[in-house]
Symmetry: C2
Subunit: 232 residues, 2 copies
DNA sequence: CATATTTGTTAGTCTAATCTAACTTATTAT
DNA sequence: ATAATAAGTTAGATTAGACTAACAAATATG
């Protein structure tokens, strides 16, 4: 008689709250960067106390989204992995939509997407996807997981590992901090920009780079390590 | 020394949570319909118990959003009125965006907007507004409050109050329930549709209406009371 | 190896938002 | 005018998500 109510209860129980979605996303992204996700690591990423993340991890384990043993790294289950990927999918699709359809700059999209990603409507994101022509990369060159949570493996190199004289195209960013994005704007560098490494200064590892407009700019090694490129 | 922290605290304290935004919106909309908002009324609208809405109303009064005296109707303050209007603004701008830019049907937009309206980014909604060309009405003909929370007064008539022989144009809806919208879709009636009242059946008050394609449809009085029209 | 440091856990508190049960105060109807 | 009904309130409980203080366990370091 009350089977329906039972199933609805189970359904709601298994829906991540906004907070849990954020934890899930954090664990997912850290894992993807091959970082061991400890309770401490997670609490740092989420800006919460250790007991808070500890507690959250236990609740998420109960829901079958991850496995955790004291002092061992947190491991997402298949279910948790998929949930995490789908949140990242919503985030990156939104970023792409904000950029391509609504005309926002790549430095503006993250903060807005951070809120939009928690919208549950599936049709909403499917429509974005369709309007965008089913993109595979977001405005920062990061891959958009597909509807099954599967991610295209992209294999770009850090500019810092490229040799003098090489010509490369900017394909992605290792970190998409607003500061970096604004810096790149100022230097007129965007995805697809062609860079020729004219000289690497051995003293401080800074890169002298020639742009297509024949202007030369100098990038610190730190910045170079944030730029993912493809040799051309 | 800690003045900044104090101000940030005050700022956050004065930001409505998602729940409070929903209460504010409900009170705002009920007030606009000239309905006396009692604790009971509010609890019904919000689908919560009376103690819950009672409690919430007290908290909102503390924040200076409304005035309440036992057994008397809830009255929004200027601040509360504006906050409420701005949430409705976000909701209706979103509906318009979903309809005009993303191609959703007018029966689909409400549920999605219900979530999007809680996004705090101001630039996000301003951009929607700009892309839409600063619309004043949503896809159901309801007015979109401006950035100051001011609302254009629209003065449409209920179809039910129109006399036989009159020709009218559909301008808005008294209630935008999904059922009504789907029904109107089926009858091929949308905003702007011209209706000629051919005959009013005295027996059940049903309206025999001629459409521009020369087809005749019969609308119950209830449906007629939900249709806001302009005489032409 | 012993100690210091880092990591994780426990216990207890807090706020927001919800509930139920039981009660009080108005209003309405007979 | 009084009893019945509706409206509002109080008290106490719950859950999610956060905190601090204090302690325990593992790892790292001198």
């Amino acid at each position: 008689m009350f089977h329906h109510i039972y199933y609805i209860y189970i359904l709601i129980y298994n829906m991540p709250t906004q907070a849990k979605e954020n934890y899930l996303k954090a664990i997912y992204l850290l894992s993807r960067e091959s970082i061991d996700v400890s309770i401490t690591e997670l609490s740092k990423k989420m800006c919460v106390s250790k007991p808070t993340s500890n507690n959250m991890v236990k609740k998420m384990e109960e829901r079958g989204w991850l496995l955790y043993e004291k002092y061992k790294p947190i491991k997402l289950t298949t279910k948790g992995e998929k949930l995490g990927a789908l949140i990242v999918r919503k985030h990156r699709l939104t970023e792409m939509f904000l950029s391509k359809v609504m005309g926002f700059g790549w430095e503006e999209v993250h903060d807005i997407a951070e809120q939009v990603e928690h919208i549950s409507s599936i049709v909403f994101f499917d429509r974005m996807d369709k309007i965008l022509g089913f993109p595979t990369l977001d405005p920062h060159g990061s891959p958009i997981p597909n509807r099954e949570g599967e991610v295209l493996k992209v294999n770009y190199l850090k500019l810092g590992s490229i040799k003098e004289g090489q010509k490369v195209k900017l394909r992605g960013l290792e970190n998409s901090s607003k500061d970096l994005l604004l810096y790149l704007n100022k230097k007129r560098i965007k995805l697809g920009t062609v860079l020729l490494i004219r000289h690497i200064e051995t003293f401080d590892n800074s890169f002298e780079v020639l742009l297509e407009d024949n202007s030369t700019i100098v990038l610190t090694f730190d910045v170079c390590q944030s730029l993912l490129v493809e040799e051309i």
